[in-house]
């Protein structure tokens, strides 16, 4: 077994004390970052990326990946305790988690969420272990036309399916592309948009842009919204106050949602552009749709907590598949990780797993260990992380700004990059303010040069643009692209049909429930939540209103959670 041997090698590689230490640090920092309201995985990764300089690539990526999926765990803490998710992927968790906490079941809620996250994370890593080599095999047959189409599809998914307003998404993406064209032209060596500056010859570095758009932009936005005037939120998590461990019945209720939504989350994570937030909300809708007693939802239903938690963790891991096998980030956080790959001199793409097995498999292996660590940390150190939220934003925000500034300078020792970072922070602020998607910009910035290079290579091939039609893989991808473009059009009828179907199913009773979900999730990317959610109008209650209310002021960040 090739996979097995690779995995064992990976585990052996990771089991060095240094790597384990950094894995541990990554896990703790990830939990911390996740628990800070307002700082999600993508912002945390962008801010921390400069800190990984001196490390060797494997150690660095192990640590950053731990930060990434650790943030998914950390998210839960604030979502449950103070009803404010650290990141968008935690929005669905608040819907049931917080009501549970209000009923005095905060301990059980957090334990169930941690176990759901762990189970989903681990299963997703197994799936990743199996699918990544397969995907890499398929991707190895891809040429420039296919890679170009993949990039386009990824961005289209982001714009068309995920975005609130596709026009704004398009502008966000084009801004990213435009930033990506600064510097020396990949094909001919001509300088573009450098205005004679030597600092810009190598292009605008990805890291300051990411730090600015995610980190600083978020802080300015929070400040604008008055985050600095809020006091610390009182957190109550006392082990003596109530039961800490979930009851037997709660375990039973959590079991099936975890099993159902892990594969669902994984698949959604693999699709570029979707991601953890979409996955968690779909999972919530699916569970609510399947529930025999949907009226319990919104009042602390364990299923509604376990489902999004397992889905978002599975999606976070699933997003690693395109990253490792295609070199295409599926979400904002993986875009930052990809930026890290480039910084460490690795060439992401189909050959990464073959050429850098130690790196790729080390990363995968570390995720098994990281999930175990996170389970232990999140069960036994929850009160410690709960304390994080006692640091008010008015203190934390400025500290993070200085950290961003120093980090941006340290990357290349260039003050111009600090300026770029600040400029991008301001840009990120206005993008948030006007409903555009900073995440799409960052992803496009990473993908832009890839898109340009592959497009030019394609056009150099015989036949020019016709080459897209002469190759089977690219024809398939063109088909997918058309599907993605048509998805919004197909949306409404599908939703109605699904709603009818789900309504009938519920009437039919419990037996029908089990078979409902598998096809629903993946097919529904265009229509996340459409199927079960549509039937739930009458039960919407506070949960439905919560999502609905938040929707109004939601700022595009594409796959912010991912």
């Amino acid at each position: 077994m090739d996979i097995f041997a690779n995995l064992v090698n990976g585990i052996i590689g990771v089991l060095s004390p240094t790597t384990l230490l950094f894995l541990c640090i990554g896990v703790l920092v990830g939990m911390f970052v996740g628990a800070i309201p307002g700082l999600g995985a993508s912002a945390g990764l962008a801010i921390l990326l400069p800190l990984t300089f001196g490390l060797d690539p494997t150690t660095a990526i192990v640590m950053l990946a731990a930060v990434y999926y650790g943030a998914m765990y950390g998210n839960t803490i604030t979502a449950v305790l103070i009803n404010t998710p650290g990141d968008s992927a935690g929005v669905a968790t608040t819907l049931e988690g917080h009501p549970m906490a209000q009923k005095g079941r905060a301990g059980p809620a957090l334990v169930i969420a941690a176990v759901a996250s762990f189970a989903a994370g681990t299963i997703a890593v197994v799936l990743l272990t199996v699918t990544a080599p397969m995907m890499a095999g398929v991707a190895a047959s891809f040429g420039p036309p296919e890679l170009f189409l993949l990039v386009v599809i990824g961005l289209l998914t982001l714009i068309v399916l995920v975005g609130r307003n596709w026009l704004r998404g398009l502008v966000s993406v084009l801004i990213g592309f435009a930033i990506g064209t600064v510097g020396i032209d990949v094909g001919g060596g001509t300088q573009r948009y450098t205005f004679g500056s030597t600092e810009l010859i190598n292009g605008i570095n990805f890291i300051p842009v990411a730090i600015g758009l995610f980190g600083l932009g978020e802080i300015l936005w929070t400040l604008y919204r008055g985050g600095h005037l809020d006091g610390a939120s009182p957190m109550r998590l006392d082990r003596r106050a109530g039961a800490f461990w979930p009851s037997r019945q709660e375990w039973r209720q959590a079991r099936m949602p975890i099993a159902r939504n892990t594969p669902l989350g994984f698949v959604l994570g693999v699709i570029p552009g979707a991601g953890a937030t979409v996955a968690s909300l779909i999972a919530y809708s699916v569970e609510k749709g399947l529930s025999k007693r949907p009226e319990r939802f919104g009042k602390g239903a364990v299923e509604g907590l376990a489902a999004p938690e397992s889905a978002n963790n599975a999606a976070a891991t699933g997003a690693m598949v395109p990253l490792l096998t295609l070199g295409i980030p599926g979400s904002a956080s993986t875009a930052v990780l990809l930026g890290g790959f480039l910084m460490w001199g690795l060439q992401p793409g189909p050959l990464l797993m073959a050429e850098e097995p130690q790196f790729a498999w080390g990363l995968i292996a570390s995720m098994y260990l990281g999930n175990v660590m996170l389970l232990l940390v999140s069960i036994f150190c929850i009160p410690m992380f709960a304390a994080v939220t006692r640091t008010p934003f008015r203190t934390l925000g400025p500290l993070v700004i200085i950290l961003c500034a120093f980090g941006a300078f340290a990357v290349n020792g260039s003050v111009v990059e600090v300026g770029i970072m600040f400029a991008c922070g301001v840009l990120g602020f206005f993008m948030r303010k006007h409903g555009m998607s900073p995440a799409a910009t960052v992803i496009a910035l990473v993908l832009g040069p890839i898109a340009e290079e592959t497009l030019r290579q394609t056009l150099l091939l015989d036949g020019g643009t016709e080459v897209f039609l002469h190759r089977t893989p690219s024809l398939v991808l063109l088909g997918v692209m058309v599907l993605v473009l048509c998805a919004p059009l197909l949306g409404a009828p599908l939703k109605r049909g699904a709603a009818r179907l789900a309504g009938r199913r519920r009437a039919a009773g419990a037996a029908a429930g089990a078979g409902a979900e598998p096809g629903g999730g993946p097919r529904d990317t265009g229509e996340p939540g459409g199927e079960p959610g549509g039937s739930d109008g009458s039960h919407g209650g506070s949960a439905g209103a919560a999502v609905g209310g938040s929707e109004d002021d939601r700022r595009n960040e594409g796959s912010g959670g991912g």
Binding site: S88, T94, Y224, H228, L281, F393, A405, E527
Partner: protein, 249 residues
């Protein structure tokens, strides 16, 4: 650390009521505040809407930048003499698409004197109880969350309710402007003055912008944190930061 105990339960991002408005003149005032030089004004929850919305200005600026980009792109060759694709092709595609998209966005934002514009959405942030929590993250998250929930009729109903329910959502454009000014000053003097001193002064200033009630604490944190961070970067990570006027290595 140093969390001021508050008597009432409040979410971190939830706007405080009228109690401390240290953040300078809030955007709620009748005059539309202009937070950034030339940037879009934040008509900040004000009920009186300026003639040109901040959104329009923002798209106009982005559009202008992209227009300049496109003009330069057309100055480049799109095809080399050998008949290959030149450096100008990709920027041309981006530029033309971008200018077109910005133009449409601008027109839309002008036409939409609407109930669900950006500002209204801001204002409608805090309605439903649990909506708060979702909203806090919603800012970042967006869109994705939106689609799934959009499927729910309840969500559809939520929109007007949220928009309508936006009472006096305070905005703090001046705090943002102040912070931007601090950042601009930071970039200007970072290299000559040095990371520690610049960082300290900027941090103290930023802390005071965010929280005027604890000047001593701000100064203490501002003095200690940049020094510690400098040590971490320079000695721990071997990443040089400018020493500036201090005799550091």
């Amino acid at each position: 650390m140093a969390g001021t105990p508050t008597s009432r339960v409040r979410l971190p991002f939830q706007r405080a009521s009228a109690e401390r408005t240290a953040g300078g003149p809030s955007g709620q005032g009748p005059s539309p505040a202009q937070p950034e030089g030339g940037g879009p004004g934040g008509p900040a929850g004000g009920r009186r809407r300026p003639r040109v919305s901040g959104e329009t200005v923002f798209y106009l600026i982005v559009g202008a930048v992209l227009t300049g980009y496109t003009v330069m792109a057309f100055g480049m060759e799109w095809q080399t003499t050998a008949g290959r694709v030149g450096p100008g092709l990709f920027p041309r595609i981006i530029g033309v698409l971008g200018v077109a998209a910005c133009a449409i966005c601008t027109v839309q934002s002008v036409l939409r004197r609407r109930p669900e514009g950006a500002d209204e959405r801001d204002a409608g942030e805090q309605t439903a109880d649990s909506g708060d929590g979702a909203a806090a993250a919603g800012e970042r998250d967006t869109a994705q969350a939106e689609r799934p929930s959009g499927a729910e009729p309840a969500a559809a109903a939520g929109e007007p309710a949220a928009a309508g329910g936006g009472q006096a959502q305070r905005r703090h454009p001046w705090a943002v402007v102040a912070l931007c000014a601090i950042l601009a000053a930071f970039v200007t003097v970072l290299v000559p003055v040095g990371a520690v001193v610049t960082g300290s002064v900027a941090l103290i200033a930023a802390l005071l912008v965010c929280d005027r009630s604890h000047p001593v604490r701000s100064v203490v944190i501002g003095a200690i944190f940049p020094v510690a961070l400098y040590a971490v970067f320079v000695y721990g990570l071997n990443a040089p930061l400018p020493a500036g006027i201090l005799p550091l290595y």
